[in-house]
Symmetry: C2
Subunit: 367 residues, 2 copies
């Protein structure tokens, strides 16, 4: 079977991550340590920023830093650039993520952060990029490149930022890195399992209504990235939202047509998210659960699992729970007759804050 590039990228993740982990434990270790020290010694806020998949990839690391007492926060670069740059101070550290190192809002924000006297750490997969020129320190992701849609670069960024968080918190990412290496065979098996199961998801995935993705804490990474993948890959609408916010109002939308995916791997809130999934199931919604199995309750009213959950440490869950969405968005695109990974309007690199190059070139050529 000829695999399309996006599918190649999905299956390539374990090998790509092995290269990435080796890089950060070897050649890249000095850079990782230096950046970790900057985070540990910051007297102000740790401001993580980016656009698109890059900003969702920061969520697990920021969650880990917050749980360890660091004043980390996430801000969309486009928002911080236009409405927040007056609040930046020299005590703050900026961690700016751009796969290409060229996203216009990120590059312009790097300039604003430098003007404010901040330390800027640029996280990019492209050495020598404009972001690297502006940053005080560069952390190279070290992932194999994707064909258009962020797949292995997305999970690679998640891992790189978790390594950085470990450097800041415990002074060494070695133990985390070894544990991450050890889980890669499980990741391969999980990708295989998702791909094999995916044909059976068709009746659930294909209806035209919007899919809701819910979760909390580090799981919000896959919630938001999953919704983005549905848009980018399958040209389908999807809503990503925290489970807490969903309970405060949007739950009113639920009916028998509602399709909801609850991401429940994080331990601190697993019980209340299970309860949410099971409540939605009892309301008649088409709910699927992603996370550890629900154990032996006697009620028999459990939201079914989308995919059996591998026995993996919670720290690595963000690399596992996004895989079903990578595969689902790929499959849904094919079922809809769309080439997964092709862009219609946007492009891999967003180099201006207005206009859509791919659309404009077609629009102009038609005239």
């Amino acid at each position: 079977m000829n695999r399309l590039p996006m599918l190649e990228n999905i299956f390539a993740q374990p090998a790509s991550h092995r290269t990435l982990l080796d890089y950060h434990a070897g050649q890249g270790s000095t850079s990782l340590q230096t950046c970790g020290e900057r985070l540990r010694n910051a007297s102000g806020r740790l401001i993580y920023s980016g656009m698109g998949a890059s900003i969702f990839a920061v969520i697990p690391a920021v969650s880990r830093l917050l749980e360890n007492g660091y004043p980390a926060q996430i801000a969309e670069s486009s928002e911080l650039l236009h409405y927040g740059s007056a609040s930046l101070t020299k005590e703050d550290v900026g961690i700016l993520i751009s796969r290409s190192g060229e996203s216009v809002e990120v590059v312009r924000l790097a300039e604003k952060m430098r003007e404010a006297g901040m330390t800027v750490i640029g996280v990019t997969n492209v050495p020598g990029s404009p972001l690297e020129q502006l940053a005080d320190h560069t952390l190279t992701i070290g992932s194999q490149a994707d064909q258009l849609i962020a797949v292995q670069t997305y999970t690679g960024t998640v891992l790189t930022l978790l390594l950085l968080a470990e450097e800041a918190i415990s002074g060494s990412s070695l133990e985390f890195s070894q544990a991450a290496s050890a889980m890669l065979p499980q990741l391969s098996a999980h990708i295989d399992a998702c791909f094999e199961a995916s044909e059976s998801w068709r009746h659930w995935l294909e209806p035209s209504g919007v899919l809701y993705l819910l979760g909390r804490g580090p799981a919000l990474a896959s919630v938001q990235e999953g919704a983005l993948l549905m848009h980018e890959t399958a040209k389908a609408s999807a809503v990503g939202m925290s489970s807490g916010q969903f309970r405060h109002g949007p739950v009113e939308w639920v009916s028998a047509e509602s399709r909801v995916l609850v991401f429940g791997a994080p331990e601190a809130t697993q019980a209340i998210d299970r309860s949410l999934a099971n409540d939605l199931y009892r309301m008649g919604a088409q709910v699927r659960w992603i996370g550890p199995s629900q154990g032996g309750s006697d009620s028999g009213e459990h939201a079914p699992a989308l995919i059996p959950w591998p026995d993996v440490a919670p720290a690595f869950a963000p690399v596992f729970d996004v895989v079903p969405m990578q595969v689902a968005s790929y499959r849904l695109a094919l079922w809809r007759g769309i080439v997964p990974g092709d862009f219609r309007y946007a492009s891999e690199i967003t180099s201006a804050e207005s206009g859509f190059p791919l659309f404009q070139s077609r629009h102009t050529s038609k005239e």
Copy 2:
């Protein structure tokens, strides 16, 4: 004509806000000044938190504080409670918003903030509430109460928090309060205009696909609250997203069936948001614009306005640009045969982190 309670609440906003402004300029002025001083003198972060409509109501004030150099940030209470409370320090000030003062996550977060030694300002419309018991200072919203769905309490919270921001930034909210009073007749006229125009929105609003709401900065308040109103009132799905994030991928979803509302009142980004709206229009999407008119360009390819925009100061735009969504969600509910303002699952007060009292009472009574 007998108006349903939600419509009464929509039309009651100007009168409710007059009461509110009088309250804060009179009996409530000492409390407003005290809270303003706490914000001005904070040595750490200003952490605004809440759930549902309450958290969206903070966006204009936080935007204003950020533009004036304050390290303000927004965190969902459910997220901060479970994943961020270790990062709270005694230098930080918490501004916790709950209309009822009883939302479980907000009340529990107030306890965590007190444990961390933080100053806690409780913002509530119900004197004597649990939040008030826990807070160091209480800022009473002073709005007339809504029937279930937050309408006048939502815009009332927006105004109260803008008054508080003015107290912090300039030491007095008097001038802002007088300007706010002076714009109330325009708000009445705007509500009338939205209600009269709304019958003509039917062919645009009624299709079953998801509605996208886009904006930036302070307009994100109405973007997010508008999406919430669609869920709560009309039981319809809607996506609220920043225009910047939408450009970085989700734009791929756009087709001739796509319905998009661009909120473009904020001045700093009006030009790029107009450009986005007009690009989407040229792509064939069903786009509507909310904001100042687009002036005399000669291209003739303009996204049409949903409603003529009143000549109102940008500071008050968040009180105006949410009105079309209040009216639209009310109308859409009626067209769908739903009583606008009735809850099916959630309830006005969310007093536990699992379970849905209205659903469970029905579910149990059927057995």
